[in-house]
C-alpha cells in the first residue's frame, strides 16, 4: 500500500514541478511555450556545472540553475516571445523552433552527456522496499511551490497586475500597469520554475541535451488537462494524472503509465476542452445560479 502511495505522490510532484512554469506562462499569457523543456534542461546544466566545476552545494547550484533559466527566459521574451503575445498558434511553432536550436546548441557546446550528480540524502526501507528521501523532499517542494504560487498571484501586487494584464491588456495599460513588463516578469517566473525543476530532478536522471524532452510531454499534457488556470489546473491535473500514471506504473510499467496520461489527454480534449479549470468554473457558475434561484424563490 505504501508503495502505491509513494508512487502516486512521486508522479504528482513530478507533474506539478514539470508543469507549473508552463502552466503560468500559458494561463497568464496564452503562450504555449514548447521551449519549456529546454529551459528545464538549462537549469539542469547550470546546476551540474555549478556542482561539478565550482564545487558549490547542490541547493545553491539548483538556485543558480533556476536564476539562469529565468534570465534566459527574460531574454527570449524580450527578443522573440513579446512579438507573439496575441498569436497563440505562431507562438507554438516559434518556441518549438527555439527548443530545437537550444538543444542543438547545447549538444555542440557540451557534447552528448554530462557527468551528473549522485542522488543525495540516502534512502529508507518500508516492507522490504527501498525509497529515496530526496524524492520525499521533491514532494514537499512541489507542495510549497503550489502554495507560494497561490500567494504570489492572489495576494501580491505583481500577482494582481499580472492577472489584470492576462484578463485585459488594454485596460491594464490604461490604468498605468506596464503590461509589457508584467508579461516579461511572468515569462521569467515560468522559466525560472522550469530551471528549478531541471535542477531538482538532476540527481534522479541522466543529463543530455534532450533532458527536457522527458518533462515536456508530461508538462504539456498536464497543462492541457488542467486548462487556463495555472493553480486549479495544475493541482487537479497533476493529482488526476499522477494517480493514473502511478497506478499503471506500479501494476504494469512506466510505458503504460505514459500511455495512460496520453489517453486521458485525448479524452479531455474530446469531453472537457477547457480542462479542469473550465470544469471548476462551470461548477462554480452552477452553484451561483442555484443560489440566486433559491434567493429569488425566497424573496
Amino acid at each position: 500500500m505504501f508503495a502505491y502511495f509513494y508512487q502516486f505522490i512521486d508522479s504528482v510532484s513530478f507533474l506539478v514541478l514539470a508543469a507549473l512554469g508552463m502552466a503560468i506562462i500559458y494561463g497568464m499569457m496564452g503562450i504555449t511555450n514548447m521551449a519549456q523543456g529546454e529551459l528545464i534542461m538549462i537549469g539542469a546544466y547550470v546546476t551540474d556545472l555549478t556542482v561539478n566545476l565550482l564545487g558549490l552545494p547542490l541547493g545553491i547550484a539548483i538556485a543558480c540553475g533556476a536564476l539562469f533559466s529565468g534570465v534566459v527566459g527574460l531574454i527570449l521574451d524580450r527578443l522573440v516571445v513579446r512579438h507573439l503575445y496575441d498569436r497563440p498558434l505562431d507562438s507554438i511553432v516559434v518556441t518549438w523552433g527555439l527548443s530545437i536550436a537550444i538543444s542543438q546548441l547545447t549538444f555542440i557546446i557540451f557534447g552528448s552527456s554530462m557527468k551528473g550528480i549522485a542522488i543525495p540524502f540516502g534512502s529508507f526501507t518500508v516492507a522490504g522496499k527501498s525509497y529515496s528521501y530526496y524524492k520525499l523532499m521533491l514532494i514537499a517542494i512541489a507542495l510549497v511551490l503550489i502554495i507560494a504560487t497561490f500567494v504570489v498571484f492572489k495576494f501580491t501586487r505583481f500577482g494582481l497586475h499580472s492577472r489584470a494584464t492576462m484578463q485585459n491588456r488594454e485596460i491594464a495599460n490604461s490604468l498605468g500597469v506596464n503590461a509589457d513588463r508584467m508579461n516579461a516578469g511572468t515569462f521569467m517566473l515560468g522559466a525560472a520554475l522550469a530551471g528549478l525543476c531541471g535542477g531538482l530532478y538532476l540527481p534522479a536522471m541522466a543529463l543530455t541535451p534532450n533532458y527536457g524532452d522527458s518533462f515536456l510531454v508530461q508538462s504539456f499534457v498536464t497543462v492541457l488537462v488542467g486548462g487556463a488556470d495555472p493553480l486549479i489546473g495544475t493541482v487537479f491535473a497533476g493529482g488526476g494524472l499522477g494517480f493514473v500514471e502511478g497506478i499503471l506504473d506500479m501494476r504494469l510499467n512506466t510505458f503504460y503509465g505514459k500511455i495512460g496520461i496520453l489517453l486521458i489527454a485525448i479524452l479531455f480534449i474530446r469531453i472537457l476542452p477547457k480542462g479542469f479549470s473550465g470544469l471548476y468554473n462551470s461548477v462554480q457558475m452552477d452553484i451561483k445560479t442555484r443560489r440566486n434561484k433559491r434567493g429569488g424563490a425566497l424573496a
Binding site: 497586475h161 484578463q167 488594454e170 495599460n173 490604461s174 490604468l175 503590461a179
Partner: protein
C-alpha cells in the same frame, strides 16, 4: 477629492492634425482640438465618426499615424498608454473596462496601487467606492454587478490615479433615467473640483445638461465646434447628426 488648482487659460490637451489609419481605412483625418484646464467638453457625432478612435489615440491605446498630441504642454505622441496614465490621464472605456473575474475592491486596487501609498490604499478604495455610490454592494465579483454599477466602478478606477484629465466614453450608455441623472451629477461635481473632462455621448439630454463646449466629428474630421447652445441649433449639425426630433 481635493479641489484642483487650475489655470483656465492654460491648455491641458492639444491635438494637432492627428490622423489614424487602419489598413486602407482612414478612421481619423487631420483632427485638431484644444482643451483648457478645468474644461468639460463633449465629443459628439454619428457612429463611425472616429470619436472612440480619437479617445484611444489620446490615451495611447492606439498610436496616431500622424500628427501630435500634447498633454500639459508635453508631447506625448509616442508614449505608451501606461506612461500617459502616470502623467495624469485616465479613461473610462465605451464597453465597461473592468475585470469581471475579480472583485470590486481588487479592480480599484489595480488602478490605485501605482499612485496611492500602501498605508492609505484601503481608505482610498473606500473613498472611491463611496464617491460613486456603490458602497452598499459590499465586495462582489464584478461580473455579478449591473451595467450601471460597472460603469461607476470604472469611473472610480479612472479616478484612482487622481488624474488631471478624465476621458469618458459614453458614460450614460445603457443606464436608466435615475442612473443617468446620478452620472450627470457625478461628472459635474468632478468638473467643479477642477478635473478637466472630455466625454463622448449620444444621449443629447445628458450632453445638454452638463457640457459647456461641444466638438462635432463627421467622417473622421472635425465638423464644427463651439458652445453647446450654438452647436445644437446649427442646421448642418441637425442635418448630419441630431435630426429634427
Amino acid at each position: 477629492m481635493e479641489k484642483k488648482i487650475i489655470n483656465p487659460q492654460k491648455d491641458i490637451l492639444v491635438l494637432d492634425k492627428v490622423s489614424k489609419q487602419f489598413g486602407g481605412i482612414q478612421a481619423v483625418e487631420d483632427f485638431s482640438m484644444t482643451m483648457k484646464e478645468g474644461e468639460l467638453r463633449c465629443l459628439i457625432g454619428p457612429n463611425g465618426a472616429g470619436k472612440t478612435t480619437v479617445f484611444k489615440m489620446v490615451m495611447g491605446v492606439y498610436m496616431a499615424s500622424s500628427g501630435r498630441i500634447l498633454f500639459k504642454g508635453e508631447d506625448i505622441t509616442s508614449l505608451k498608454a501606461s506612461k500617459r496614465a502616470r502623467k495624469g490621464m485616465s479613461i473610462k472605456m465605451q464597453v465597461p473596462g473592468v475585470y469581471e473575474e475579480m472583485t470590486l475592491r481588487e479592480n480599484i486596487r489595480i488602478a490605485a496601487e501605482n499612485y496611492v501609498p500602501k498605508k492609505d490604499l484601503e481608505t482610498e478604495i473606500d473613498r472611491l467606492i463611496e464617491l460613486v455610490h456603490i458602497k452598499d454592494l459590499g465586495n462582489p465579483l464584478v461580473k455579478n454587478m449591473s451595467h450601471g454599477q460597472q460603469q461607476w466602478l470604472e469611473i472610480a478606477m479612472a479616478l484612482a490615479s487622481n488624474p488631471d484629465l478624465l476621458l469618458l466614453d459614453e458614460p450614460a450608455a445603457g443606464l436608466g433615467p435615475e442612473e443617468t441623472d446620478f452620472t450627470a451629477e457625478l461628472v459635474t461635481e468632478l468638473n467643479n473640483q477642477g478635473l478637466s473632462i472630455l466625454f463622448i455621448e449620444h444621449d443629447m439630454n445628458f450632453v445638454k445638461k452638463i457640457a459647456n463646449d461641444v466638438t462635432v466629428m463627421y467622417y473622421g474630421k472635425k465638423f464644427v465646434e463651439g458652445p453647446i447652445d450654438e452647436v445644437v441649433n446649427n442646421p448642418e449639425v441637425i442635418r448630419i447628426y441630431l435630426g429634427n426630433s
